[in-house]
């Protein structure tokens, strides 16, 4: 069933009965009734009722690609900020370099940015990330900025459609971390255009037809430049 507007729900809002549907993400059950536990968008299919959060910090999931910023170098590990409720730990065993004890600062220092992958999230929500993968590395150059993690799917688009558009019309390299951190590299005008467009997508993330609107806007800008 096609809706005209995506439905926003709030904590404590009644969504359905457990006898008809299963309680999915963003919901809780009390006395056989399913309620929303967060401010979000209602997303239900034939089996599950889910609520996709509109706000809040990044909720780390194993295998997610994230952009982290090193906050502290310790003798055999680093603490990295990945915009979650907790800092993530990067152990010397999880980087592609051979590091002596106490030499961590020679490789990664406070303020360095890295393209990493979430390795493990345990019961106590202790987080570990890794740089051991061929497409993970220390980031050089470009610009980094943060968006709401909940908007990441929209910025990437279905099968990467939105981000491909951005790359095509701005000729920039763009990487969107699942944690809402975005890295861009290109010329100044290109970078500015990417930032402005992403801000627009953030503001209008719930509208339909956004991909087309963005394409029109990017096309127009490019025409004016040429």
């Amino acid at each position: 069933m096609h809706q005209d507007k995506r439905e926003i729900v709030i904590p404590s809002q009644f969504l359905g009965e457990i006898k008809n549907k299963k309680a999915g993400k963003g919901t809780f059950v009390e006395n056989g009734k399913i309620y929303s536990e967060i401010l979000g968008v209602l997303n239900s299919n034939s089996n599950y009722i889910n609520v996709i959060s509109l706000k809040g910090r990044y909720d780390p999931a194993e295998k997610d690609f994230v952009i982290g910023i090193v906050s502290e170098a310790m003798p055999s590990s680093w603490l990295v900020d990945i915009n979650a409720a907790y800092p993530a730990l990067l152990h010397v065993n999880e980087v592609p370099w051979d590091i002596e004890f106490g030499e961590t600062e020679r490789y990664l220092n406070k303020g360095d940015s890295i393209m990493a992958k979430v390795l493990q999230v345990d019961q106590e929500k202790k987080l570990q990330i890794t740089l051991k993968d061929h497409n993970l590395y220390k980031i050089k150059g470009g610009y980094i900025f943060d968006v709401e993690p909940s908007k990441v799917p929209r910025i990437i688009g279905k099968k990467g459609s939105m981000i491909s558009l951005l790359k095509k019309y701005t000729k920039c390299r763009i990487f969107v971390g699942q944690n809402g951190r975005i890295w861009i590299d290109g010329d100044e005008d290109g970078i500015k255009k990417v930032i402005d467009t992403i801000n627009m997508i953030e503001d209008e993330s719930l509208s339909y037809g956004l991909t087309n609107k963005v394409e029109e806007l990017l096309k127009k800008d490019t025409k004016e430049v040429h």
Binding site: D4, K5, R6, I8, I10, P11, S12, G26, F28, E30, Y35, E37, I38, L39, S53, L54, K55, G56, R57, A85, Y86, P87, E124, K125, S150, D203, E204, S205, L206, S207, Y208, G209, L210
Partner: protein, 241 residues
Amino acid sequence: MKTEIKLFENGKRIDGRKPDELRNIKIMAGVLHRAEGSCYLEWGGNKVMVAVYGPREAIPRHTQNPLRAIVNARYNMAAFSVDERKRPGPDRRSREISKVISEALENVILVEKFPRASIDVNIEVLDAEAGTRCAGLTAAAVALVDAGIPMKDIPVACAAGKIDNQIVLDLGKDEDNYGHADLPIAISPRTGEILLLQMDGHLTQEEFDRAFDLAIKGCHIISDIQKKAILEKYQSDSGGI
């Protein structure tokens, strides 16, 4: 306190309200740039701003609870918010109010989802006119929703009291100063559970029942205003078709 002021005459209160009438309330969600969740609320002459940060790792580490998040509500009155300038900094009253509000919020926030973390709720009273703790908690609830914190309900608070032998809803300034009883209550509107309850003054058991019921009624009316404020902020962001 006995004075010459007549608080209730010809069915009306000093400010013209009926016994079961609330002061004007205006609520706006998501008003601050740095805060992860925020709310600005006006209630009668009260003006309250709330900012929520978190969940984030609790520091200092010895305050961390390995099983759940701790909720730190900090209620503070600006020096210029009252008739006689208040010295900046927490006083005993502010610390007590911070504690009862933290406890009310802890009940509805799904704290087990964030072990070792803290959720910091900063409540600033910018302009005060009786009922600041109810205004503070009500605004804090909206700010928490705005921050994306998972909760099983959106708490709301309201007070009732007794003036000149009349039970009334939502005491105004003079009523608070010269009335005979003040009963602020916070509830979880979905279940009706009581999350905050304080009382000072003198009430018979029957008067208490009536004041209690009246305060609960007030809570439900305000709960609708909270929900509208949240939806207004986020539904308008959903853009056109």
